[in-house]
């Protein structure tokens, strides 16, 4: 008796899998590329921080840049540290972060060129409405001193939540501790239950602070995006160490193709153009009542000098 194929079910399974792959593959043609396009658009990979990306500003600017330069802008946001690492490895073409000390180190080691600080806003210290540490209206450094004193003395209602992840926000927090004459690793980290390191992004860290009734340092954009969902309120909004500066840097290394460097320069020039600066100034006004960012063209913050007008043209350090 002749036996037909014994593997009939397994063959059907494979046909199904392949069929599923083909069908789902065909439906994933990117909407930005027309089907009859023969020449694929050049790509530009931008690495940025979560707090900047989550405000939605980059998604807003992306189509404008893509239309002007006929390029496919790919944006990945995985945290400041990851963004800088990607840039160092040559996996990103342009870096958009808010950590001046890390940026300067990056540029000084020859990995970045054409750094332009294009916008700023302010960090704020938020905390429980009843303000158990009594820091409202103080300078950031004095407030931190008081939180530390209260927390260490055993006042269990005073807690500070840190990003604890080497992000731009975390770097800014560490700077405040340093300005207040503390050694961050020795005096602050692991000094007690009052200091909580979340190791997470800004949104999630705000949620932790909200749940614990704790203080934390946040950028205003993320805080506004969470309006109505949190139990913490702004407690301190003024102080020079709360300045949050955003910069864009073209990535440079020996293996980086010149076309990518040139396109990254295009992005920076697009960013500092008058038109985009106006868009940045207006971004968020409709939804939040105030703009989330202040472009440098609206006036540099006190004590800051930044180059935001020189076109980016250099292709090597």
């Amino acid at each position: 008796m002749k036996h037909p194929c014994r593997f009939f079910p397994i063959f059907v399974l494979f046909l199904l899998l392949i069929g599923g792959v083909i069908i789902s593959g065909c439906t994933t043609t990117s909407p930005s590329q027309p089907v009859n396009q023969t020449e694929p658009k050049p790509k530009l990979l931008l690495a940025t921080t979560t707090s900047l990306y989550d405000t939605g500003l980059l998604n807003y600017l992306e189509p404008k840049f893509e239309a002007k330069y006929n390029v496919d802008l790919l944006i990945t946001s995985q945290g400041t540290g990851k963004a800088i690492e990607l840039a160092k490895k040559g996996d990103a073409d342009v870096l958009l972060v808010h950590s001046p000390s890390q940026e300067l180190a990056f540029v000084n080691q020859g990995s970045g060129i054409n750094r332009r600080t294009f916008a700023y806003n302010y960090f704020i210290i938020v905390g429980p409405p009843e303000d158990p540490a009594g820091i409202k209206g103080m300078s950031p450094e004095d407030a931190f001193k008081k939180i530390l004193a209260q927390g260490k003395s055993g006042n269990s209602t005073v807690i500070f939540v840190s990003r604890g992840d080497g992000s731009g926000t975390h770097t800014a927090e560490q700077k405040i501790w340093t300005n207040a004459k503390f050694n961050y690793t020795q005096d602050i980290q692991k000094s007690g239950k009052w200091y909580v390191e979340s190791g997470k992004g800004m949104g999630e860290t705000l949620q932790v602070a909200s749940e614990k009734g704790a203080y934390t340092l946040t950028d205003e954009g993320t805080f506004l995006a969470y309006a109505g969902k949190l139990n913490v309120v702004p407690v301190i909004s003024e102080g020079s160490s709360l300045l949050n500066l955003y910069s864009a840097i073209t990535v440079y290394n020996e293996k980086q193709p010149v076309e990518r460097i040139a396109m990254a320069n295009n992005f920076i020039n697009f960013l500092i153009s008058n038109e985009t600066m106006t868009d940045i100034a207006n971004y968020g006004k409709e939804k939040y009542g105030k703009g989330l960012f202040i472009p440098m063209t609206s006036g540099m913050p006190y004590g800051v000098t930044a180059d935001f007008t020189t076109p980016a043209t250099a292709i090597r350090p």
């Binding site: 014994r6 397994i10 059907v12 399974l13 599923g20 994933t28 979560t50 998604n59 790919l74 996996d91």
Partner: protein, 242 residues
């Protein structure tokens, strides 16, 4: 609590309205995970067969290592593959980082241990007497291996379904290799991670429901066709259930 209810409502709205961004993300999730499952199955099932049927020194050690690898964190696989396909890595010239192709490779590597190990387990479940009977009836080694794999095919199908489940639900590889780039490498799981990080819990739950619905459809199709075909092939072969 309201987020869970809101999640169900949003899931329904998104699906019914055929939200284009949802469709794009879902199609990409399916494409990547189905591809990884197909490639992994093509390699893992024969490999599992070879490991099971051959005797060699260190076989028990190898199987133990394979089973230990079931527990490897997805982020670690993501990190290892990332280091290999990064522009500064040995295979950087292929330009696979931040592409669906790279994600397929990552997920294939991720689910290989499960598929190989469970194939071996499935084959081990077949009575040794069958193999001896086949050989005594004159089957070649290849013929008897083929027959035993056929006997175990339900359990092996289970391994394939589990592999698919692990692939479509994982975040670590998709995030590290794909980068969650909108319109390019954003899939259901990385979207959920993003929306949760931004506090949009209702939408995150909605996306989770969509993912489970997709998985349900895939699993149902796999089960229905193969059990239906099996019943038919039994009638054709004139087996005991004919």
């Amino acid at each position: 609590m309201e987020e869970i209810i809101s999640g169900f409502i949003q899931a329904f709205q998104l699906i019914v309205s055929l939200n284009p961004e949802l469709l794009e993300v879902t199609a990409l999730s399916l494409f990547i995970s189905l591809s990884a499952t197909a490639i992994a199955a093509l390699i893992a099932i024969p490999l599992g067969g070879v490991i099971h049927f051959r005797e060699f020194a260190g076989k028990r050690v190898l199987i133990t290592i394979i089973q230990t690898l079931y527990s490897v964190p997805t982020v670690i696989i993501g990190l290892l593959v990332f280091l290999i396909i990064s522009r500064s890595g040995p295979f950087g010239f292929l330009g696979l980082l931040f592409t669906p192709g790279g994600m397929i490779i990552g997920q294939t590597v991720l689910i290989m241990p499960i598929m190989i190990g469970l194939t071996i387990t499935a084959l081990s479940g077949i009575d040794r007497n069958i193999r001896d009977t086949l050989i005594s009836l004159g089957a070649t080694e290849l013929q008897s291996i083929a027959r035993i794999v056929q006997e175990a095919q339900f359990a092996i199908l289970g391994a394939v379904i589990l592999g698919f489940g692990r692939a479509i639900s994982e975040v670590g590889v998709a995030m590290m290799i794909g980068g969650n780039i909108r319109g390019e490498t954003r899939v259901l799981t990385t979207s959920i991670a993003l929306e949760t990080g931004m506090g949009n819990f209702g939408l995150s739950i909605a996306l989770g429901i969509v993912l489970l619905a997709i998985a349900l459809v895939v699993v149902l199709i796999m089960n229905l066709i193969t059990s239906g075909a099996l019943a038919d092939s039994d009638k054709i072969l004139g087996g005991p259930r004919a």
